[in-house]
Each structure stands twice: as structure tokens, then as C-alpha cells.
């Protein structure tokens, strides 16, 4: 895959006059200056040293958007044809940078403050206190350990998804029906799922599953016992997301070269042999993509936990996200919560980078 090459090469003779260039630069710097001035004025106003100002910061947002538009327009005005090419990527890049990079920097700042939304003082920098608190917070470490279990559960989901994809790829009738039915869980919102399954079907008194267990002579507990509760959360999450991996794997199976499969059949390979020696190795790249993306989604797991167990019993089902959600919701601890989130981000980045490195090294030497 060649992404660095200049695939669509255009040669243009742009004669851009100096005055046009000056106009473009003026637009960018003028609007930028305007935006900064407004922001300064607003800061002074909010600190109480000036009488003119806005009620909210919204006008600064508009000024910022004006600057962004001017920057895009100036690309064409200053650079001509080359600018038109830049214009493809620039809006998305500006959008992502302003919505990710600035908030992240801001998050970095608040994560080293003792900000509690309930306290009237506002953010006060408190150095390494939050980090020390995190180090001693056994619930956070517990949530991180839970995340390890949750990520490990992806392997089971992968096996099931692969099996289903193989079945859907077999010679069956009503394939379209099965494909739609298997896809349905992915369409449902995790919140609805947590009521449908977690709160009603798994309800201890009247839920259908508890009824079956009681008929079989067991005593149903789903969210009382830590291990079972964690397993139930995993199962619900798996239920919604297995279709996701299944469809990616199915697409991979359908793209397999049929000559190879036929050749293996002619050579007398049994079903299991052709799976082990041909299908699985050929499917490795797709499998790796599906698993990596699934892991990335899994790291964000929260909705079901928040709505079904809110982390209970005793934090046994907490994921990092749901833990921080409660830290904010129940205690308004913005500073500490943000620090936990930032630490989590660092851990994720390290983990995913290592994962991708490992995968790419492993893929270069196929087994």
C-alpha cells in the first residue's frame, strides 16, 4: 500500500501576485489576532478587572471558527492549485486538532490540580498529590486488573466469531436471514442491552434465566458473586460485539482465493486439516486486524457496567472508564478523575503500541 507517493500528479503554472499573497496572509493573521484579542479581553473580564466582556466564551469560539475558515481560504489564495490540494485534508485536521489536542493539554493541566466541582475555590495546583493518591487507590488498580480480564475475554469472543463466520461461509440456505439475525445484537445500544439482559432477563426473582436455573435445582445469583458478575458483564459485552468480529472475519473468508482451497481438497485434506493448514494461516492478517480493533473497543467498555452493576459487587466488575465516571458523578472530583484518565491513556498508548509492534514482527515471520 503506497500512501506516500504523489499518485495524482498535477503540474500547474500558478501566477500568484504579491498582493494576493499579502491578502491571504493578512486574512490569517488578522483573524488570529482578533481571536487572541477577544480571548484576552474575556480573561481580563472574567478576572474582574474589566467591565466589558461576554457572558460566556462562545464569541471566542466563533472567532476561532472565523480564523479556521480564513486559514482554509488562505491556502487557496496564497498557494493556488497546491492549496486546493491541502484543502482536502486541512478541515479534518483542524477539526481533530482543535477538539483533541487543546482539550488534552487542558486535561494535563487539571489533572495536577485538586479541582472538585463542589468546591468554590476552583482549580488549585497540588503537584504530585493526585499521583500519590492514585498509587494508594486500591480501587483504581482493581479496575485496571479487571481491564486485563476483560481484554483477555476477547480471545474467547474471537473463537466464537471465527466459528460463526465459518458457518456463515459454508454452503447453507437462508444465509441472508442468518446474517441479519447475527448482526442484530450489534445494532442495539449497550444501555438497552443492559436493561434487556442485565436487569430483566438476569433478574433473580422473575427473570427467565433465573427461572431455568431454579428449575434445574440451582440457586441463581448473577451479580452477587464477584466472579460470576464479571463473567456476566463479559458475556453481555461479547453478545453485542461478536457480530463485529464475525463480519470482519466473514469478509476475510469470502476473499480467500478459491483455487487454494480447491487444491487442498483435491489433495485430500480433511476439513480440519484444510482449516489448520490453509484457512487459518491465510486469515491471520484479517484476524489480527479484527482482534486489535476489538481490543481497542474493549478498552472503552463502560456503558453496560455503569448501568447494570455500577462497578459492584465491591468493584469486581469495574472498568477504568466506569470507575472514573463514578468518581466524577458521585464525588465531582474533576482533578483526580482526570489524572486517572490521563494515566489510563498513557497505559493504553503503551499497550497498543507494543501490541502493534509485536503483531507486525510476528506477521513478518509467519509460523
Amino acid at each position: 500500500m503506497n500512501t506516500d507517493g504523489d499518485l495524482l500528479h498535477t503540474v500547474t503554472t500558478d501566477n500568484i501576485s504579491d498582493s494576493r499573497k499579502r491578502l491571504g496572509k493578512l486574512m490569517v493573521w488578522g483573524t488570529a489576532l482578533f481571536c487572541v484579542m477577544l480571548a484576552l479581553q474575556q480573561t481580563i473580564y472574567q478576572s474582574g478587572r474589566a467591565s466589558i466582556g461576554f457572558e460566556t466564551w462562545r464569541p471566542i469560539l466563533y472567532a476561532y471558527m472565523l480564523w479556521a475558515t480564513a486559514l482554509c481560504a488562505a491556502q487557496v489564495i496564497v498557494n493556488g492549485e497546491k492549496g486546493k490540494r491541502t484543502l482536502f485534508v486541512l478541515p479534518a485536521a483542524l477539526f481533530v486538532i482543535s477538539l483533541v489536542v487543546f482539550p488534552l493539554l487542558f486535561a494535563l493541566y487539571i489533572s495536577f490540580t485538586d479541582w472538585n466541582l463542589a468546591s468554590p475555590k476552583g482549580p488549585q495546583p497540588n503537584g504530585w498529590d493526585n499521583l500519590v493518591q492514585m498509587w494508594n487507590d486500591s480501587f483504581y488498580w482493581n479496575a485496571l486488573t479487571n481491564m486485563v480480564y476483560y481484554v483477555l475475554a476477547v480471545s474467547v469472543e474471537y473463537v466464537i466469531a471465527f466459528g460463526l463466520a465459518l458457518l456463515l461461509n459454508a454452503q447453507i440456505s437462508a444465509r441472508k436471514f442468518f446474517r441479519i439475525v447475527f448482526l442484530l445484537p450489534l445494532m442495539l445500544s449497550p444501555v438497552a442491552v443492559s436493561w434487556m439482559i442485565g436487569k430483566s432477563m438476569l433478574e433473580v426473582r422473575f427473570g427467565p434465566i433465573s427461572r431455568i436455573i431454579r428449575d434445574l435445582g440451582g440457586e441463581p445469583t448473577f451479580f452477587g458473586n464477584p466472579e460470576i458478575a464479571r463473567f456476566m458483564i463479559m458475556a453481555m459485552d461479547a453478545w453485542t460485539f461478536i457480530p463485529f468480529m464475525m463480519i470482519m472475519l466473514l469478509a476475510g473468508l469470502q476473499a480467500l482465493p478459491s483455487e487454494v482451497l480447491e487444491a487442498s481438497k483435491v489433495d485430500g485434506a480433511s476439513g480440519w486439516q484444510s482449516f489448520k493448514e490453509i484457512i487459518f494461516p491465510l486469515m491471520l492478517p484479517v484476524s489480527v486486524t479484527a482482534v486489535v480493533i476489538r481490543i481497542i473497543f474493549k478498552l472503552k467498555l463502560a456503558d453496560i457496567i455503569i448501568n447494570v452493576t455500577s462497578g459492584g459487587p465491591g468493584g469486581a466488575t469495574d472498568s477504568v472508564t466506569s470507575f472514573i465516571f463514578r468518581e466524577y458523578r458521585d464525588r465531582s472530583n474533576v482533578g483526580y478523575g482526570t489524572l486517572l484518565a490521563m494515566v489510563y491513556l498513557v497505559l493504553i498508548v503503551i499497550f497498543v503500541t507494543l501490541l502493534l509492534k509485536l503483531v507486525s514482527r510476528w506477521m513478518e515471520r509467519p509460523a
Partner: protein, 304 residues
Amino acid sequence: MNAIFKDHEVSLRVQTKWWTNRIAIYATLLIWAAICLFPIFWTITTSFKLAPDVMKGNLIPWWDFTPRWKGWESIGLSPRLIGEVSTVREEFFKRFWNSTVVSISASLLAVILGSLAAYGLSRFSYRFGFMKNSDISFFFLSQMILPPVVLALPFLVLYKSLGLLDSRIGLILLYTLMVLPIVIWIMRDQFQGIPIELEEAALVDGLGIWGAFLQIVMPIALPGMVAAFILSLVLCWNEYFFAALLTSTNATTLPVMVASQTGSQGINWWSMAALSSAAILPLVIVAIVLEKYIIKGMAAGAVK
């Protein structure tokens, strides 16, 4: 030939093996289909139950319980109440409308921004400072690993000062950000599959690069764009975390409404079930009608 050998011992063995194989495949498929469908069936039937039906665990409508509209009445959507004024129904439709507006606009914005970026990255070579094309692509795609919880609190404070808290625009911006990497991922794959010769011909014929994109490439890539749009729509419609943190009264979406009712309803399962069914039905219909596009969207990028 076949008729002669049909009763031979070997061919009989092959036949039984084939049949057991078939039965095993269909049995597994049916079991998994039941696992997928039962919760949906359960929710929809429960919305027509009354308290005794819930407690007795009746399952099959008309056979062991008579369907009643009680659950749907609690959100004002039963035949009896449909003509009357109902505050609950208005509340429900307000949330429904919020969800619709937010998810459609966010997906649309993401598809526009994402397609442009993906097209640019698949056709031209850029250099922003030290960043080349592959770095820019990586920058966009790496947003996928950003956990929402990292952005949530800064955005809460930021939106508070911008006056965007509890507004649809705030949610739209965040949702666009959330699905943008996925759109770029799908669309880059789509554009790489379109031969460059098409645009070269268009350029020779006198179109500019934007003209070539809008008139030649866009129509070809349209199915891919629809796929990306539908996938974004599903993700935005179901999003709960940001909506729960950043909205309170005006802009709350359906998942927030469902979540806020779960705790308070107790054993009033019929009303929760009606609400859940109403929240999931639009996407169930989307899945049934547009299944092709959803699968196309998810398959893109899986197969290089």
C-alpha cells in the same frame, strides 16, 4: 453411475457423514440465532405484559398470556392514548428527536470531513512540518484508541465556559470526533480501490481536482460513503457516555432516557420494556433494510 453405487457401504457412510454435518451446522446456526433473537423477543413481548404475567414468567403471547397495551401506555404510545395529549409521549419524542438530529448531523459531518481527508491522503503527497502522508493517516487513525473518558472531563469544563453544555451542537461535535477515524479508515480503503486513471482522464478533459473529485470520484464512492454513514449512525445513536455527562435536560438522547428510568422502575418491567423496544426498533429496522451497507462498511479495511 450414481444410482448404481448409492447403496454401497462406502457411499452410505459418506452420506450419513454429510447428513450429520448438515444437521450440526444448522443446529449451531439455529442455536446462535436463538441467542441473538431471544433478548429482543423477550423485550418486545414483555412490553405487552401485566404484572402477573411478569411474575409467573409467561413467555408466549396469546398462548400463555394475553397481550395488553399497558407498557406502551406508560410512554403514551398505545392505540387508546395516541389521539390524546400525553406529556410522557412528548418527552419520549423530544429525546427521540434529539437522538435523530445528533446522530444524523454528526454522521453527515464526519462523512464529509472524513471523505475529503481520506481522498486527499490517498491521492496527493502532503508535508505538514515533519508529517508526511503516512504520519497524517496515523494521526487520524490513532484517535480511535483515545478513550472517551480522557476527553470527557475537559470537555465538560470547556463546554461549560462556552455555554455548550446540554446542547445538541456540543454532542454533534464530540460524536463527529468519535466516528471520524472510522470513517477515514473505511473511505481510504474505498478511494484506494478507484483507479487513478479516471481522474487523470477528467483532468485532461479540463476539470480541476475538486471538479474531478465531486463529479467523477464521488458518485463511484457513494456506496462506501453510505456504508460509513450508516456505521457512524449506529455508533452515534447508541452512544451513552458523553451524553450522560454532557447533557441534563434539553439535549438528552434516548440512551440517557432509558438509563435514567432503569433504576426507578422496579418491577414495572412493561414500561421499561416498551421504552427499550422503542429505543432499539429504529436500528433493528435499519439493520434489516440496510444490512448490505453495514456489512460493507465493516468489511472495508478488514481485507486489504
